[in-house]
Symmetry: C2
Subunit: 335 residues, 2 copies
DNA sequence: TTTAATTACGTAAACGTTTTCGCCTAGCTT
DNA sequence: AAGCTAGGCGAAAACGTTTACGTAATTAAA
């Protein structure tokens, strides 16, 4: 470690006070350009970088934000993080990652552990296991917080989401136009606004086209691959739907497998469509019609909002930013 | 924020010194159980959590590690992070994420920015753009560092890798057993040990089976989807290989697309096999034979090693931990 | 009974910054 | 010549911990 290079060292070598050095490093107007230059060149020469702990302690700024998400190993979230990280770089912020694994207790525990000044702000996509509105109502008063994709409603906080209702409506209409009348729904995120909006869009599209919405079968997501497969197979056997509307990516593999195991041809016997950020959707057998959310953009947008808040910039206007998803029609719906 | 709750506050309310409070919180042997209990209950009551900056500053421990990787939005890395994060939770560590986008300057800049005490240790999977051995030779003396998957060799640091040579050899033999004799190689990570080992395994398998290794065509990876597609198409047209050995996941989409555009049937006209952590490999059309690395395990293993070092535990024996990849034969190689 | 050891706690310095406040000098203004 | 202003800098406190060291009271050893 040699002798540490800190402000004191710089001050000694330059025969000036540590206050002057600190101010010079922060480009304060109090310091003459001449002195600043002396400080800057020596700092560069000695490879000086300020100690973040000391700086945090004194200034109460950490230049760090936390991202709290259910799981990193998910196309949507890893793309979001990519977006967040890119913006964080531009603003010179550091990014901490926390995975909740859809566990609300873990979510609360992580969040609480960040309130002691470890981070300046939080980006979060909440767990689907429960809806603890009270907790977040209090939380948003304590720390700058931006929600993305999976949000709590009616809170005084920025939320970045997508047009779940509209795109689900549109996707359902697509299935109807393809001749489907028995459209089963694979239901995920049922506790969250996003999940409810998707389901609502689906139901309303059915109603609009005179299809009895309440007769359509629904399979709810379980955190168990085998179980989902089982449920979908039962669904296919008992209701013989002509389409599956999958509201989350996690249903794709069990849905495809179920059809194969039951010898149902996609799209002839049953059409499939899913929310998904899978890059290989077009390579599936058959290629999959998807609703893909702009995950990367969501991450970027959410991060930008947070940094604006942290830098006391005025947010353009709205607290709700809604990005558009895109429906890509492929073979699995006969296109 | 109300009045901040810190050690001083606890000390006042309990009529003891702040030193006693600090020691009690850290469960020091110097403090009686009675006093500890008083401190603990009040701390819980007031929701006290220690200020990390102050703690870091004084103790030089951050309980934080950094993960430096090329990109989060990649199946291998997102799975690795998932593993790292899980272990970090167990040890009570926080995880910072940095993406290099395969840019060696960014990699060096990030790493340097972490040397001022921001983190206790670093987990890294290095950029493929260049091989700056000198930098890392110096770095490992400055901070605990664990490499995973993409490593620098001949360094005094722990490295967690996979059996790239052996599995590439085995996969090549699989192609040969399927009757292939003109096996083109889609070459990624050529600057790194992992990339070289894969290529060497491929070449040696060819030689072992009496196939002229130096006559096999090679396409090197470019950071441009369109270009890779173009090159593969040219390869297919000019050399008419009967198999493609893809050494990285990024070649899958262009390879499949190239075959489709040129009306080549997989696996009849050309067989394909790829290193990949794609969860949907079995759903591709046709399903893809893969070599999948235990990404999640690699992350876990690497993190465990780092935390052992940070806790001054003896590492079991070796600095090189080598995990096994698995070859899954599917339709794309005719299985 | 004296001395040594142990237990339980307090004092104060230290970690490396940022920031308030005050001082000094040079250059103006009257 | 006296008074002002502004520019440039330094002294010192503060941020919330941890920890080396000291000390008083109690217990154990002699």
């Amino acid at each position: 470690m040699a002798e540490a290079v800190n402000i004191k060292r710089l001050a000694q070598e330059l025969n000036i006070s540590i206050a002057t050095v600190s101010k010079a490093l922060n480009d304060s107007y109090e310091i003459s350009l001449k002195t600043k230059n002396r400080v800057w060149t020596l700092a560069k020469e000695l490879n000086y970088t300020p100690n973040p702990a000391a700086s945090n302690l004194r200034s109460h700024k950490t230049k760090t934000v936390a991202v709290i998400i259910p799981c990193v190993a998910n196309n949507f979230f890893s793309l979001s993080i990519k977006g967040i990280e890119e913006i964080a770089r531009q603003y010179g912020y550091h990014v901490l990652i926390y995975q909740t694994h859809e566990n609300i207790e873990a979510e609360v525990a992580f969040t609480n552990s960040l309130l002691n000044g470890r981070v300046d702000g939080i980006l979060t996509s909440v767990s689907s296991s429960e809806y603890n509105s009270e907790y977040y109502t209090n939380l948003v008063k304590k720390i700058p917080l931006v929600f993305f994709d999976r949000v709590y409603e009616n809170l005084d906080a920025v939320k970045v989401t997508t047009d779940d209702y509209e795109i689900a409506f549109q996707a359902t209409e697509h299935l109807i136009e393809c001749g489907c009348t028995k459209i089963a729904y694979l239901y995920g995120l049922e506790n969250l606004p996003a999940g409810k909006a998707r389901f609502a869009g689906y139901l309303d599209a059915l109603k609009t086209h005179g299809i009895a919405a309440d007769e359509q079968p629904v399979v709810k997501y379980q955190d168990d691959e085998e179980l989902n497969l089982q449920h979908i197979k039962e669904l296919l056997k008992e209701y013989k739907p002509d389409a599956l509307f999958s509201s989350i990516e996690e249903f794709i593999i069990p849905a495809y497998c179920a059809c194969r195991e039951m010898d149902l041809k996609i799209p002839d016997d049953v059409k499939i469509l899913s929310f998904s950020n899978l890059s290989t959707a077009k390579l599936l057998s058959p290629s999959l019609t998807t609703i893909s959310q702009p995950a990367f953009e969501i991450g970027r947008e959410a991060a930008k909002c947070l940094f604006k808040i942290l830098n006391n910039k005025q947010l353009d206007d709205e607290q709700n930013i809604i990005l558009k998803s895109v429906l890509t029609k492929r073979e699995s719906t006969g296109c």
